[in-house]
């Protein structure tokens, strides 16, 4: 570390800083490795810049493919236009024109209640006519608003915020009018996720300070209980059926996977060692089934599974192909959630922000639809009419009432993604409609 930089550190911490710097300086890199890697890089760089591989030789095939793709798009467009009117009539003419869907949403005839958004370390709610998002705590007094969760009746929104490594949980009404701290300036450390119990009486949360401990807290801020787990938690705890257990992605001494831990006995069971992603699982609204995405690297399959909690019986709802083996280019599944009627699941699946698709799966195994080629953080509204998702810094809506079993309807732009407080990983983005039937 540069001495000028070290000197900017507060005097109290400088001895520690200089000591750490000296230890880091001792971390030597093997000269053999350096030479080998440089040789590999030089070889690769030379191949890359070889005259035969110049831009003109690369662009010719690319232009060819582009022309071919344009022709294909033109043909496909022509085919769809010629078939679409017949298809609508055959379906009984039930699908509404696109403009009607958009007007219905903005006039709060369907998909009522605000859509909450976590983005850029801030939390937002849609305004009344859903033409934009309003940031909660615009005074920015709270710190990094990390995530949120609606209560099951939709009357309250709980928010997790962190200031200089200390977590606070806030509650606000469904319009975001007041932010009341429930757990202030927590000694628990940097809070990661929290969730509501199914009866709306308790919060479950965990802190990065110690991922083998979970905390239970009454919604009024009393009765903080700490529970030691034999399993390390990595992400996204959820209450199990009847609030008797918690389900989360974690690891025991031998392997990582999806676990269920009983709250009374701390007894843990591994549900699946093939679950590899932090938010690729969700309990159904009635608590009877758990959906998750299993990665089977031997068969090259990502299986969307619905497991009955009472019996452990599994149904494979759909399968997506993945590369076989243990390569690093495996896609991840995220933001899996159920529709309120328990008939459909949505999730995103892919690698980076731009090569991640949004999927809708019917729980009765009758279909899996890629509803957006590029998108993430999907969420279905409480009435089941709207699917919201983020794509290319915008929030889109899709009319689910007219979704045929094998293709997706045209999305409608809801609004642009607002600027957050700071740049955060897109994986922290989250959308969630207010649940319940409140006006």
């Amino acid at each position: 570390m540069n001495k000028d930089v070290l000197d900017q550190i507060p005097a109290d911490e400088q001895p520690v800083a200089y000591k750490l710097d000296s230890l880091v300086e001792d971390m030597q890199l093997s000269p053999t490795f350096q030479w080998e890697l440089e040789t590999q890089l030089m070889d690769a760089a030379k191949r890359k810049t070889r005259p035969g591989q110049g831009w003109h030789t690369k662009i010719i095939p690319a232009v060819g493919w582009a022309i071919l793709a344009l022709c294909a798009v033109f043909l496909l467009n022509w085919s769809i236009r010629s078939l679409a009117p017949n298809w609508t009539r055959a379906a009984g003419g039930t699908s509404e024109p696109q403009i009607s869907f958009e007007d219905n949403v903005r006039q709060a005839n369907i998909c009522t209640g605000p859509l909450a958004l976590a983005h850029g370390f801030a939390v937002f709610l849609t305004n009344q006519d859903k033409t934009g998002f309003v940031m909660l705590d615009e005074q920015k007094t709270i710190g990094e608003l990390r995530s949120f969760a609606w209560s099951t009746d939709g009357r309250q929104l709980a928010i997790v915020g962190n200031t200089t490594g200390r977590g606070t949980i806030y509650l606000t009404d469904s319009a975001g009018n007041t932010l009341q701290p429930v757990l202030s300036d927590s000694e628990l450390g940097y809070l990661m996720d929290m969730t509501w119990s199914h009866d709306g009486k308790q919060f479950l949360m965990w802190s990065i300070e110690n991922n083998s401990i979970i905390y239970l807290l009454n919604v009024d801020g009393t009765g903080l209980v700490e529970k030691q787990l034999d399993v390390q938690m990595f992400a996204t705890p959820q209450f199990g059926p009847d609030n008797e257990s918690i389900i989360f992605y974690g690891a025991d001494s031998s392997s990582a996977g999806l676990f269920e831990v009983m709250l009374d006995s701390s007894q843990a069971r591994m549900i699946s060692a093939r679950v590899e992603d932090e938010s690729g699982y969700a309990l159904s609204p009635d608590g009877s089934r758990l959906a998750y995405v299993e990665m089977d690297r031997e068969l090259g399959e990502a299986r969307i599974v619905s497991e009955e909690m009472a019996t452990g019986g599994k149904d494979v709802i759909a399968i997506l192909p993945i590369l076989k083996g243990s390569g690093s280019s495996l896609p991840e599944s995220a933001n899996l959630s159920w529709s309120s009627d328990g008939k459909t699941l949505v999730f995103d699946f892919g690698r980076g922000a731009t090569d991640r698709a949004v999927y809708l799966a019917y729980v009765d195994s009758t279909g899996l639809i890629k509803v957006a080629d590029s998108g993430h953080a999907p969420a279905i509204s409480a009435d089941g009419r709207c699917l919201a998702y983020i794509s290319n810094k915008q929030v889109f809506l899709m009319d689910l009432s007219s979704t045929p079993s094998n293709s997706a309807p045209t999305p409608v732009l809801l609004t642009d993604l607002p600027a957050g407080r700071a740049i955060a990983d897109f994986r922290l983005d989250k959308l969630q409609w207010r649940p319940g039937t409140l006006p």
Binding site: E13, V16, L20, D26, A45, T49, Y190, F234, S329, A422
Partner: protein, 195 residues
């Protein structure tokens, strides 16, 4: 900093951004960028993985990806922050593949080569670094990442801020709090040699 740092550079006064532009057509320019930053990237990965082989593997992957994507570096920010961005993505995939952030077994975690030091001194330093890496896994992620970027990755506060999406002042605060955390959690490791 043995072999590479002693090589005479063909580009002694050329800044990273200009070198990155030249590297699109000149392998030597990319090699110079590699020599300038390989230590930072290696130490960044070693701090995260605690394992020499994994750190070397991730360092290879990072520079290979940088070579492939050198045209996408537009020079709008420091080259090292762009490179750390690649390193960060490689690291994320690595931990996903291994099942998030595993606890590294202590005996297998650190085989940090420290040539030039007497055996007992080297062993003591390994132990100290072992404690620090362990502590970094148990403090707030923001603080740990700021410490890793600045101390292991060699970034200054502004560059670390660009990577973390935070202001320079916020990074200084994270570093200060992170050092406090390390002082309380690794007091033996850090205070043994106070003079």
């Amino acid at each position: 900093m043995a072999t590479f740092m002693n090589l005479e550079s063909q580009y002694p006064s050329v800044d990273d951004a200009r070198l990155a532009q030249q590297a699109r057509a000149d392998p030597e320019a990319f090699a110079e960028l590699y020599r300038r930053h390989v230590w930072s990237i290696y130490r960044y990965h070693l701090a995260h993985t605690g394992d020499v082989k994994d750190a070397e593997d991730l360092t290879s992957q990072t520079f290979m990806a940088a070579l492939e994507g050198i045209r996408s570096y537009r020079g709008t920010g420091p080259y090292i922050t762009w490179l750390i961005g690649i390193a960060s993505r490689k690291r994320a995939r690595f931990f996903q593949r291994r099942g998030s952030r595993p606890e590294v077994p202590l005996d297998a975690a650190l085989h940090l080569p420290t040539p030039g030091l007497p055996t007992d001194k080297a062993a003591s330093r390994r132990l100290q670094m072992d404690q620090i890496l362990g502590a970094l896994r148990n403090i707030s992620r923001d603080r740990a990442e700021a410490l890793i970027l600045c101390f292991f990755g060699g970034l200054n506060f502004v560059e670390a801020g660009l990577v973390l999406g935070k202001s320079e002042a916020a990074v200084k605060m994270l570093i200060s709090r992170g050092l406090q955390d390390l002082r309380t959690r690794t007091s033996l490791a850090l205070e043994v040699d106070y003079e």
